[in-house]
Subunit: 220 residues, 2 copies
């Protein structure tokens, strides 16, 4: 008989703790994938994981802590929170991001349809918004604040999990097609922005000329 006192820092105990934690997170992910409309609660997750409710609470004392862990694991599969913040990286990200969504379609749909998923995505929104704003800065340099916001809104609308779902499930695009369509739209809109920029730069020079003449006149 083993008479050694149980140590919470023993490697075996640590491993057991880690396994239990992982089982809880997996149960939460399964719940989101298979029944996104189900309430996402400690109770429901304990039931699915076959783990005592008090154990679930010991690992995740609150809903935000549980959501963080689920988000982190979803993220390791979907890389949802790796936000490109240059124009080139943003364009290059479309294909792999949508390919990951296709590869994990049930989880992705679950995240989009469940309250828990919506909550997680809202919490990460500001990082995503800020990264896209940086990516769009060169193309929107000639616009005022409202114009910049408008372009940002369009790009957030066409390059997102929601856009992927709209394209796959509502417009019936096939695997791979959302990426091609999105890249085409992004490149077309960016090209227009750069054309507008050239026009407004030329107009700026034209408007600047009389001012320069006036300045020269005043000097003379």
């Amino acid at each position: 008989m083993n008479t050694e006192p149980r140590s919470y820092s023993s490697p075996l105990r640590q491993q057991q703790m880690e396994d239990t934690r992982q089982r809880i997170v997996e149960a939460a992910l399964t719940l989101i994938s298979e029944q996104p409309q189900e309430a996402f609660s400690h109770e429901e997750i304990a039931r699915r994981a076959g783990i005592a409710l008090r154990t679930v609470y010991r690992h995740f004392p609150s809903r935000p802590e549980l959501l963080d862990a689920v988000w982190k694991t979803s993220d390791s599969q979907l890389e949802l929170s790796h936000y490109p913040d240059t124009e080139a990286d943003m364009l290059a990200a479309v294909e792999p991001v949508y390919a990951r969504m296709d590869a994990h379609a049930p989880l992705m749909r679950g995240l989009l349809r469940s309250n828990a998923g919506q909550e997680m995505r809202r919490r990460d929104n500001e990082r995503r918004r800020a990264a896209m704003e940086r990516a769009l800065a060169p193309a929107t340099a000639h616009l005022d604040a409202a114009g910049k916001r408008g372009v940002l809104g369009i790009f957030q609308s066409i390059f997102s999990g929601r856009a992927w779902e709209t394209m796959r499930d509502r417009a019936h695009l096939q695997e791979g097609e959302p990426a091609r369509a999105t890249e085409w739209a992004m490149r077309t809109l960016l090209a227009q922005l750069y054309r507008d920029q050239k026009v407004s730069a030329r107009e700026g020079q034209r408007h600047a000329k009389p001012a320069a003449k006036r300045a020269a006149k005043n000097k003379a």
Copy 2:
């Protein structure tokens, strides 16, 4: 004392039935607007309307019948199911559609976030998709089926309740700005499609010439 037997077809009785029905639908709309994450059930709606559960079931024997009535009333406020099916009508619809969403923002957000709202919108999707396909037909005439689907997917992504919500709540656009941004994006993408169409028509003629020459040669 009134000894006349109660008639179910009396105008008063009809009016009472109509009032009760309306109270149920209003309770359902309030539930969606105020607590989109709440379960949408006959029980919850009966509780909110202060009406007996059996009465709710008498008016709406099943969930689809209840959802139809709620959708119809939402629609009279938001006109969500009036889908333009020409390019001009689609462009002209952006401003009034987004203005209605702004005017009924809590209901619109509720419809987007609640399971009931998502269910209603999914059921109406095919009509919406088909109308947009017709609206885009002239601009996408030169594309193959996959190309047409891609353009449709982009347009469904940028002109939708979800896009409105992304622009307002994620990209922080102000009232009126989503319409301007969406119109700009639509016009830019349509202009590119028509430019591509001219190019492919010219290329078609160039490819046709050698064939015509060959035909002339064979004749001679």
